[in-house]
Amino acid sequence: MTNIVVLVKQVPDTNAKIVFNGESVDLSAVKMVTSPYDEFAIETALQHKESSGGTVTALTVGGSGADKILKDAKAMGVDNIVRVWGDGFETLDSNSFQSVLSGVLSELGADVVYCGKSSADLGSGSTGPGVAEKLGWASVSNIVSASFGDGLTVTAPADGGNAVVNVSLPAIISCDKGDLKPRKPNVRGIMMAKKAQVDVREASAPASTVTLVSQTPPPAKPAGKTYEGGQSAAEVAKLLRDEANVL
């Protein structure tokens, strides 16, 4: 029976307005959601289970506020939900974060792990390959489809085309959007999620090797230009071609 784990991360809603408080992002009033690429990972994990059997465990690193995304994953159909937290985890760097995940994945006895190709907040894309490196597992990144008939076969972009890869387990697979449409929860799933208990585990992490000094917002967009009337058409076309490079 395949032990499938999917890594999920809580991030600010991608529609949320980000507020800066001094030198850092103020997330206190921001709605938190599952990182969108992680939803493709959940869908892939559930399809793997439906095709080959097994169990799917959603795993996140976070405080109690992250229970919500685990409940959301449960409502989509995962079997188990696990949250890991420990002292000093607020400031984990990627290296420490991957060490924590490696330890818990070993504890869980995972055969295959799915994650999003990158998170919607930091977007470093390092979790999948980083954890695979620590565990010495196979790793394929940015897959756009997967099949589970005769072993795990995934498709990932490569050199302008696609590479089809047979993957030996254990492995960590990071998921791009592809053609997948993550399933929506239904009332039955939500009611099961309400009753589900989050398996909370404590862990320790190696000290961070990098320190976040400050964050800055992106520069404000320059004011737009307005053109009216047919007499402007030639000039607009010229700007679209020469400045915007879209023609």
């Binding site: 529609n15 709605k31 239904n186 009332v187 039955r188 939500i190 309400k194």
Partner: protein, 391 residues
Amino acid sequence: MEKFEGLDFYDIESLLTEEEIMIRDMVRDYVDEEVIPHIEKACEDGVFLDKWRQDLGEMGVLGAPLKGYGCPGLSYVAYGLICQELERGDSGLRSFASVQGSLAMYPIWDFGSEEQKNHYLPKMASGEWVGCFGLTEPDYGSNPGGMVTKAEDMGDHYLLNGAKMWITNGTIADVAVVWAKLDGVIKGFIVEKGDEGFTAPEMKGKHSLKASVTSELVFQDCKIPKDRILPGVKGLRGPFSCLNNARYGISWGALGAAMACFHSAKTYTLSRIQFDHPIASYQLIQNKLAWMLREITKGQLLAYHLGKKKDDGTWFNEQISLAKMNNVDIALEIARMSRDMHGANGVLDEYPVMRHMANLESVKTYEGTHDIHNLILGRYITGIQAFTREA
């Protein structure tokens, strides 16, 4: 238009359970992805998409507050939130769910035999079977007690004769709960699609609820097996108890339509430039937006508190009348105001406001007209009924 993120000025979300929030968000996302992108075409074509029937069944929101027989047994607050989000998409979608759950499934659930419950409810909860509710007749709308549709006991079956009108889901229904007089007493009967002597032609030409099927039900010597009578109720209590549940859902649903109109008005007026400034920067527009927010917030508090009373079982009929009447009334006024604030653009299908406005004219009329609910409250206040000229 920017994504709808909810309208919750008084932080009502803090009063909701985790389950209620998840269900609201599930339906909200569904409406954004599967209803709003297709609703204008559906209205233009005058159809209720069969996909919506399947999806609502798969989501598990049909017959939401009923327990057992394949129904989820959600709180009435959760049911209200479902109605709110569906009607934010379109009143036709909420009407489908109201009729299926409150008007067709509920009477079977409350007044049906065990066999009837087991036979009908699981397939109606899953959306496999569509239900409708036959009460109103061409000559008996606000006065349903005067109905002329009658059933006769023929020994081994009932014979149904008469006609019903303004029946949501009628033509697409597999199951109709029909109210008719048996020896002068109103009783409920389950009529199935294909029953001999039963037809359900669709009514055409509506300028409102265009993405909803509205039908006549015609019974001409329609033979009904004896086990299709609802054994648990007689008199107007039967249909009125169904209507109470539907009216409760409408009190939330209307807020959804109002929120959609508010959201569109806010977005439009912030982007529409006249006299070198967004029209939202002018006092007349801000006055309108503030009025909308005020009325929606009051309506939310009304609906939420009524929902808790429904869950506690401490409600009474007149409270539902007040909520239905008030929330539809303010929603319709908000829709009209929003249409006005969109200027000429407000009549286009690029914006949802005129569709909601036209829909709400029906919602104001069905499930007890605005005036009938006033009379219900008038009777409650004075102890004197004013429905008829008789004392």
